[in-house]
Amino acid sequence: MSGRVLVGVKRVIDYAVKIRVKPDKTGVVTDGVKHSMNPFCEIAVEEAVRLREKKLMKEVIAVSCGPQQCQETIRTALAMGADRGIHVEVSGKDYENLGPLQVSKIMAALAKKEEASLVIVGKQAIDGDCNQTGQMTAALLDWPQGTFASEVSVDGDGLKVEREIDGGLESVRIKMPAVVTADLRLNEPRYATLPNIMKAKKKKIASVKPADLGVELTSRLEILAVEDPPQRQSGVKVESVQDLVTKLRDSGTL
């Protein structure tokens, strides 16, 4: 086991910004809009860096797939403590169609190429909310997965992962190499302070193309339209139970 951690980070529209649908309904407006690192990816980077600080791992590599601006996101990961970065260049139409399947193929290829022992990603991205990339990556690599992790610890030659599930918490023990997806309560990410940003400018970010990794990016999905959700209708107050029943009957619900 090499002790290398591969962390996936995604550049998404900042969570506080109000989204606007493009007039041609092909997507949302992204030009000039404030972007930042996906909050779950920040938690993933923090966990990876902590593993290296505890000397359980040797190297943290931050990966991002997308256009030139992704380099800023990788820089932030480097400022938080990652050792080096890999920017997988995807732009234009390819980037618009980039989904979990393509990204997981890229992550799987990189994990093999870099001989990683662990792949950590955020559980989902706040723009797509797909919650698929981590799981697909594990499947493609045929590695065990510990998803929705709220605690990760090294247990012999494997990992003990505390998972947050609907019923409560589940403890699993998985062998390495493995894939882990970070949930909200895994840790509180550190700030990327200015001295670290300055140091990060000297750390390496390698650029690769998906074709170099043997990954083909065609999507099996076609976006037909993107629209605003329908306006919420105002509710009606009723005076009595009889009124309620009458209204429900009138609307055809009863």
Binding site: D31, G32, S36, R190, T193, L194, P195, I197
Partner: protein, 619 residues
């Protein structure tokens, strides 16, 4: 107390929090000074370390307060038009003359342009000087002004006023721009010239040499929790030292406020007067006339309240409208609500048809300078100087400040460069003093321009209010070009102008209809503003009991009305009678109006953790 070296940092923090807990249970042990500024009935509001120093705070005992230090030749605070022009000019000169210069720019917004808000109709003169090939470089000046309209509004009608050439608001040759995009473009040019740009890092403290000159700045600390105690993620900001520090924080900068006091820069000038500008961007349907510039005065303001509206038709593909309302902050009625005046104005019969069927896509607000010539402070001090709207070069009747801000940045760069490269340089202080900057500015068109319009704003204080001002402009500016030998004075500090609430009548504002006019909270959401919630509120009060005892009692809490982001709310206390001030610091859009207009001058705006604040896109 505890021999700190024996314990690890973790253990030390544990011990500190345990002792803090013990103290909380026996409040008499707290040193009396901590609680003196809030009486027993006033809940504690402020927890910021600028009001409660950490040296005296037991929760901070043993915390490592050392800062990382780095040196640059010039540090610029603020990546707005002035700051970026200064940085760009420095690097242009350095590369022309083959000299090496390290220029660092710090900016509190997470990306450059995100805190920029302006009308804006700009004069390209300064940009032309900075980049004669700005068109080829793709500067986003896409909308030349084709039509200029000015009107006086009454409740139902509009009286058109002709804009003759020579009047200050004639816009021939100017461009309507989205200033945020222009600033982002300037940032790209700066990066190409190898200026080091650091968005997301706010300058929180000015550093001084032993001899009192400015040494540089320190960026904000991170990881302080809401009650002022250190979190696990606490990290000190970093120190950036420079030979000269350029302060370009924009209107009413918080570091500039400290510098005025420290170096007594406002000794020989009048206090600065301000206005608040609220702005929205709309996508409209049919009434789009690209290149049209419209201004109005009058309704809904009365003749004694300075202010008016702007409505610019942008030509950038989509039918976009940049519109807004400006209200002078010297208003007297504490019931005045600039946000609601703006919403009300949109319902005027001559404005409503343009907006009907359209969609609002952005909202924001910012204070702007109105003092002009009379309020210019001393611009230089040992180790630094002020550029842009911070000292305030805005030409108020022209409603333009970007060109003079950029020019001031460029002049600062030129004078600093010649000083830095002067081999025979002898400086009395460790931080360089650059008085030549002020002298050169006085000989430039910026000074002449501000001088010629100096009397227009004060002339609006007379019996006929704004209309008197218009008559004055017609006679003395249009005909005589501002050469009259007298200089009128302003009324004084904006915060002193409020009359007590009992002497004023509340204003009845119409309810927002959700299509043309909107409520405050949905507007604030549109600005994309947010801050890390677990940090001390950055709207600090020198005395926590003054808001209820003074602002609410005498002026009925004007801050709940003039804040364009709903930060200040007077809510009933949980138990018993009375009200308390609630500060929703997360909503803040960094407009600075509260620091300016607070009648008790009790609110001190300090910079929050960098990266927080509005997320304007091309405002």
């Amino acid at each position: 107390m505890f021999p700190a070296c024996k314990y690890t940092l973790q253990a030390r923090r544990c011990l500190c929090s345990v002792t803090a807990l013990q103290r909380a249970h026996s409040p008499s042990l707290f040193c009396a000074t901590r609680w003196s500024s809030s009486s027993s009935t006033t809940p504690r509001i402020t927890s910021h370390y600028t009001v409660y120093p950490r040296e005296k705070d037991p929760r901070w005992e043993g915390v490592d307060m050392e800062r990382f230090v780095d040196e640059a030749d010039v540090v610029v605070v603020g990546a707005g038009p002035a700051g970026l022009s200064a940085a760009i000019r420095l690097k242009q000169l350095a590369s022309e003359q083959g000299k090496e210069l390290r220029v660092c720019v710090v900016e509190k917004a997470s990306q450059i342009g995100a805190h920029t808000l302006s009308g804006a109709c700009i004069e390209p003169s300064a940009l032309q000087e900075l980049f004669p090939d700005w068109k080829e470089r793709g500067a986003p000046l896409h909308t030349p002004v084709t039509e200029d309209r000015f009107g006086i509004l009454t409740e139902k009608y509009r009286i058109p006023v002709p804009i003759l050439p020579g009047l200050p608001m004639n816009n021939h040759g100017n461009y309507i721009v989205r200033l945020g995009h222009l600033v982002s473009w300037l940032a790209e040019q700066a990066e190409e010239l190898e200026v080091e740009l650091y968005p997301g890092y706010a300058a929180a403290e000015v550093l001084f040499h032993e001899d009192g000159s400015v040494k540089g700045i320190a960026t904000n600390d991170v990881g302080i929790s809401k009650d002022g105690s250190p979190k696990d993620t606490f990290e000190r900001g970093m120190e950036l030292h420079a030979k000269v520090t350029i302060f370009g924080e924009g209107c009413h900068g918080h570091l500039a406020k400290q510098l005025y006091k420290h170096f007594n820069l406002r000794q020989h000038c009048e206090p600065q007067t301000y206005a608040i500008g609220l702005k929205e961007v709309w996508v409209i349907d049919e009434k789009w006339r690209p290149g049209r510039v419209e201004h109005t005065v009058g309704w809904p303001l009365d003749r004694h309240s300075y202010g008016g509206s702007f409505l610019y038709h942008l030509n950038e593909g989509e039918p976009l409208l940049a519109l807004g309302f400006v209200v002078g902050l010297d208003y007297q009625n504490p019931y005045m609500n600039p946000f609601r005046e703006f919403q009300r104005w949109k319902h005027h019969p001559t404005v409503l048809p343009t907006l009907e069927g359209g969609k609002r896509i952005a909202y924001g607000a910012r204070a702007l300078n109105e003092g002009g010539f009379q309020s210019l402070p001393k611009l230089t001090f040992p180790g630094g100087l002020l550029v842009g709207c911070s000292p305030g070069f805005m030409n108020v009747p022209k409603i333009k400040g970007t060109h003079s801000a950029m020019k001031s940045g460029m002049m600062a760069a030129e004078t600093i460069f010649s000083k830095l490269t002067n081999e025979n340089l002898q400086s009395e202080t460790e931080g360089l003093c650059v008085p030549e900057y002020e002298e050169n500015l006085k000989n430039s068109w910026v000074w002449k321009e501000l001088y010629s319009v100096r009397n227009i704003r004060p002339s609006c204080h007379g019996l006929f209010g704004v209309y008197g001002g218009m008559v004055y402009t017609g006679i003395f500016y249009w005909i005589l070009r501002g050469k009259e030998p007298w200089t009128l004075k302003h009324k004084g500090l904006d915060s002193d102008q409020l009359k007590p609430a009992k002497d004023c009548t509340p204003i009845e504002y119409p309810k927002p209809d959700g299509k043309i006019s909107f409520d405050l909270l949905s507007s604030v959401a549109l600005s994309g503003t947010n801050h890390e919630h677990d940090q001390p509120p950055h709207l600090t009060l020198k005395n926590d009991s003054i808001p209820v005892n003074n602002n609410l009692a005498i002026y009925d809490g004007p801050e709940q009305r003039f804040c364009p982001a709903g930060v200040y709310e007077y809510v009933p206390v949980e138990t018993g009678d009375g009200m308390r001030l609630q500060i929703n610091a997360q909503n803040c859009v960094h407009c600075k109006t509260c620091d300016i207009k607070d009648p008790s001058q009790n609110i001190n705006w300090v910079v929050p953790e960098g990266g927080g604040g509005p997320a304007y896109n091309g405002m």
